[in-house]
C-alpha cells in the first residue's frame, strides 16, 4: 500500500463546506434503525460546535427508496425533492444537509440532471406548483451530514474524552470504514476523497486516533442494495454479499466498523446475527461480532456520551467489547433501560453470538 497515492487522491477530491446555517433533513429509516444517531448529530453540531441547524416539521421522505426500487418514476422523485427545497427556501436557508446517503445521492442526481436538462427542471417546477402551490430555490450548497462531521472532525478530536485507541495497549483500534454506495459512486467529485478511496470516514477515524483497514471487499455494497433486500426472494443475495465482506475483513481483525449510510450499519449489524445462527461463525473475538456503528455514534463515543443514550443497545452486535477497549465507563445494568429508567425489555440470547 502506498499511502502517498491515496493522499494525492484525497487532496484532489475536496469540496467547500459552509461554516454555519444549515437546513437539516432526517432519514426515513435511521430513527427506527439507530435512533440515537440523528439526535446525537444535532446535539454535537448545535451544542458542542455551536452551529445553526434548522429542521422543518413538514419535511417528508425524499422518495429515494421508492425511486431505487422502481416504484415511482424519476419525475415523481424529483417533485418530492423540489418540495423539500421549497421548505428550505421558505425557512430562509441555502445550505441543505441531509442525514441519508441515498437522499444525498438523489439530491445530487436531481441537481446534476437539472443542470444538464433545464427543461426538466422547468417541468418539475410546474408539477410542484400544480400539486403543492409551492416554488423552490435550489440549495447553494448540498452536503451529506457526514461531510459536516468530517469538516469539524479535528474540533471534535479537541473536545474528545476518549480516542479510538486501545486503552490497555495504547495501540490504535483497527477500523473498517464503509461508505454508502450513493455517497460518491455516482458522482465522485461530490464526495470527500472521490469514489474509489473516499476520505470522509477515513478522515474521522484518523483524527480520532484509529487506524483504517483497506481490505479487498472494501468497496462492496453492505448487502442492502435495495432490490437485494426489499424483494424477499432476493434476500439470499443480500446476506451472501454481507458474508463476503466479513470473510474479506476477517484476517485484519477489525475492532469496529464505521458507516455513513442508513442501511449499511443495519445490514452489517443484523446479518452478523443471521450468519452466526446459520454458520456458527462470529467475526469478533470470543463469540462476539464486530460492532458496526454510525459515524454519529462513534463521534458521540469519543466525545464521552453515555453509550446507552447514544442508543447502542439497539445494535444486534454487542458494543461492550469496544467500550472496554476504549476504556469507556458504562453501567451494564442500564443497557436496556430507556428514558427515566423505563424497562425496554431484554432480548433473548441467540445461540451463537454474544449479546453482552
Amino acid at each position: 500500500m502506498i499511502v502517498e497515492g491515496k493522499q494525492k487522491i484525497w487532496a484532489d477530491y475536496q469540496k467547500d463546506i459552509p461554516d454555519d446555517h444549515y437546513f437539516y433533513v432526517r432519514s426515513c429509516i435511521r430513527q427506527s434503525f439507530f435512533p440515537g444517531s440523528e439526535v446525537t448529530f444535532l446535539d454535537i453540531t448545535r451544542n458542542k460546535l455551536g452551529k445553526d441547524f434548522y429542521e422543518s416539521a413538514y419535511h417528508t421522505t425524499c422518495g429515494g427508496i421508492a425511486y431505487h426500487s422502481d416504484s415511482i418514476p424519476q419525475e415523481t422523485a424529483m417533485t418530492i425533492i423540489a418540495r423539500q427545497f421549497a421548505l428550505m427556501h421558505e425557512s430562509g436557508y441555502e445550505n441543505y444537509v441531509c442525514s441519508c446517503i441515498t437522499s444525498f445521492g438523489c439530491y445530487t442526481e436531481t441537481l446534476e440532471t437539472w443542470h444538464e436538462f433545464p427543461e426538466l427542471e422547468a417541468k418539475i417546477r410546474q408539477y410542484l406548483w400544480d400539486s403543492c402551490k409551492k416554488e423552490f430555490a435550489k440549495p447553494k450548497y448540498l452536503a451529506h451530514a457526514s461531510d459536516i462531521i468530517y469538516k469539524f472532525r479535528h474540533e471534535i478530536a479537541r473536545q474528545a474524552k476518549y480516542k479510538l485507541i486501545n486503552a490497555k495497549t495504547g495501540e490504535p483500534l483497527k477500523v473498517v470504514e464503509h461508505i454508502g454506495c450513493h455517497y460518491s459512486k455516482m458522482f465522485p467529485s461530490k464526495g470527500f476523497g472521490g469514489a474509489e478511496y473516499p476520505h470522509v470516514l477515513v478522515g474521522m477515524v484518523e483524527a480520532w486516533g484509529g487506524e483504517v483497514i483497506d481490505y479487498p471487499e472494501r468497496r462492496q455494497c453492505c448487502g442492502f442494495g435495495f432490490r437485494q433486500y426489499l424483494i424477499q426472494a432476493n434476500r439470499g443475495y443480500s446476506i451472501s454479499n454481507t458474508h463476503k465482506k466479513f470473510e474479506s475483513m476477517e484476517p485484519y481483525e477489525p475492532d469496529l466498523i464505521i458507516t455513513n449510510c442508513p442501511g449499511c450499519p443495519y445490514f452489517l449489524d443484523r446479518w452478523q446475527y443471521v450468519i452466526a445462527e446459520q454458520t456458527g461463525k462470529t467475526y469478533g473475538k470470543n463469540g462476539y461480532g464486530i460492532p458496526a456503528l454510525t459515524y454519529e455514534e462513534v463521534a458521540g463515543l469519543v466525545m464521552g456520551y453515555n453509550p446507552w443514550d447514544l442508543g447502542l443497545q439497539m445494535h444486534q452486535v454487542a458494543i461492550e467489547p469496544l467500550l472496554d477497549k476504549m476504556g469507556i465507563e458504562y453501567d451494564p445494568k442500564a443497557k436496556y433501560k430507556g428514558i427515566n429508567g423505563k424497562d425496554l425489555g431484554t432480548p433473548i440470547n441467540p445461540i451463537n453470538i454474544k449479546l453482552q
Binding site: 500500500m1 472521490g194 469514489a195 478511496y197 483497506d214 484476517p251
Partner: protein, 346 residues
C-alpha cells in the same frame, strides 16, 4: 546546396525519420528536441511487437542515420512568428532559425495510469504500467517483479474509455500486451498469464500470428472483459474483479502482478507550440490535419507539416511511413512555392 532549413520539432522516431529523408532529398533539416537525446518513447522500449525485435538496434540505426543532421538537444521552442512564408523560430538556448517549413513530430504521452483510480496504480505496490514492464525487461531492475506466479494484463487503459474522455483506440496496446505476456512467460515459465481485453485488435502484419503464438506456445489466457476493481489482500497480493463476457460470468482472481496497458494521449505542452503556429486540435486533443486522406501530413497552416503520433495514435511502422511521406510533402511544398534553389542529388 540550398540554405533553406526545415525545422523538425521532436526527436523521436517520426522526427528522426523525417529528418533523414529530408536530408536524402537534399534539404537541410534541423531537429529540435527537448530531452538530452534522440529516440522518444522508443528509447524506453526493450523489444518491439510483433516479433520481439530489438528496440535498441532499431534506435541505433535511426540515430546513425541522423549523425550528420543538425540537432539541438535540451532545447525548447520559445517563440515562432511567420513572415512572407518564412518561420522565425526562437529557441531556449538563445539561438534562432529562419525556416521554410516546420514539421511537428511531437509524439504522444503515455496515459497516466493513476487517472483510472479503480486499477490502483500508485496505491497498490504490484500494479505497474506497460512502460515500467518494458523498463524491467531492459534492466531487470524492479523489486515489484519478484518471481510472480500469476500475472494480469489490462488492455485499453485510458483508451476507448468515455470516462477519461479518450474514446479512440491507441492501436498498439493489444499487440504490446501479447508481446509482453509472451516475454514475461518466457522469463517466468511457471507463471499463469491473463490478458483482459475488450476486443483484440490484431490488425497489422504478423499481429494475428502473435495472438496465436501467445495462446498456443505460451498458454496466455485471453479473457474478454474489463477489470473493474483492484484491491490488495493482507499478504500484499492483488485481488481483481472482472467480467468474462464470453462466459457471461463475473470473476475474481488473486494476482502477484498487474500490468496496465496505458494508451496514448496528446503530448503535454504541445498547445503552446500549436498556439504559436495557429494549429488546432481535434476533440481528442491530437493535432488536427488538413483532411483525413490526402492531407494527413498537412496542417491547415501553410508550411506546417505533421508526422507520427502527434495527430493520432500510431504504430512504429505507421509512424515511419508517415515520416517518409511528410518529407516528400515538404519537398513538394517548397518546390511548388518556388522556394527551391537547389536540385536533387542522385
Amino acid at each position: 546546396m540550398n540554405e533553406h532549413k526545415i525545422l523538425i520539432i521532436g526527436g523521436g522516431p517520426a522526427g528522426m525519420e523525417t529528418a533523414y529523408q529530408l536530408k536524402k532529398l537534399g534539404l537541410k533539416p534541423v531537429i529540435i528536441e527537448r530531452s538530452d537525446k534522440l529516440g522518444g518513447h522508443l528509447a524506453q522500449w526493450d523489444r518491439l511487437f510483433p516479433a520481439s525485435d530489438d528496440a535498441e538496434a532499431l534506435l541505433e540505426k535511426m540515430r546513425e542515420q541522423c549523425i550528420d543532421i543538425e540537432k539541438r538537444l535540451n532545447t525548447r521552442i520559445t517563440n515562432i512568428t511567420k513572415e512572407n512564408n518564412i518561420f522565425h523560430v526562437s529557441l531556449s538556448n538563445g539561438n534562432s532559425y529562419d525556416a521554410d517549413a516546420i514539421v511537428l513530430c511531437t509524439g504522444f504521452d503515455l496515459f497516466k495510469a493513476e487517472r483510472k483510480q479503480e486499477y490502483g496504480y500508485g496505491i497498490y505496490n504490484n500494479v505497474i504500467t506497460n512502460a515500467e514492464l518494458e523498463h524491467y525487461f531492459k534492466t531487470h531492475n524492479d523489486e515489484r517483479i519478484n518471481e510472480p506466479k500469476k500475472i494480469g494484463f489490462v488492455h485499453c487503459v485510458g483508451s476507448r474509455d468515455v470516462k477519461v474522455n479518450n474514446t479512440y483506440c491507441s492501436k498498439v496496446c493489444c499487440a504490446t500486451a501479447l508481446k509482453q505476456a509472451c516475454e514475461i512467460k518466457e522469463e517466468f515459465p511457471d507463471s499463469d498469464v491473463y490478458c483482459f481485453y475488450m476486443d483484440l485488435r490484431m490488425f497489422g502484419k504478423g499481429y494475428e500470428d502473435l495472438y496465436l503464438k501467445a495462446q498456443k506456445d505460451f498458454d496466455i489466457k485471453c479473457v474478454r472483459g474489463r477489470v473493474c476493481e483492484v484491491s490488495e489482500n493482507i499478504e500484499g497480493k492483488l485481488v481483481i474483479k472482472a467480467e468474462d463476457t464470453l462466459l457471461g460470468t463475473p470473476m475474481k482472481m488473486t494476482l502477484d502482478l498487474l500490468v496496465l496497458m496505458c494508451g496514448m494521449e496528446k503530448a503535454s505542452g504541445i498547445e503552446r507550440i500549436q498556439n504559436m503556429l495557429n494549429i488546432k486540435s481535434n476533440a481528442d486533443g491530437f493535432i488536427e490535419t488538413r483532411d483525413t486522406f490526402y492531407g494527413l501530413n498537412h496542417t491547415k497552416e501553410e508550411g506546417v507539416f505533421v508526422a507520427g503520433a502527434c495527430t493520432s495514435p500510431k504504430t512504429l511502422p505507421d509512424t515511419i511511413a508517415e515520416a517518409r511521406a511528410a518529407a516528400v510533402e515538404v519537398f513538394n511544398y517548397l518546390k511548388d512555392n518556388g522556394q527551391q534553389t537547389f536540385s536533387l542529388r542522385f
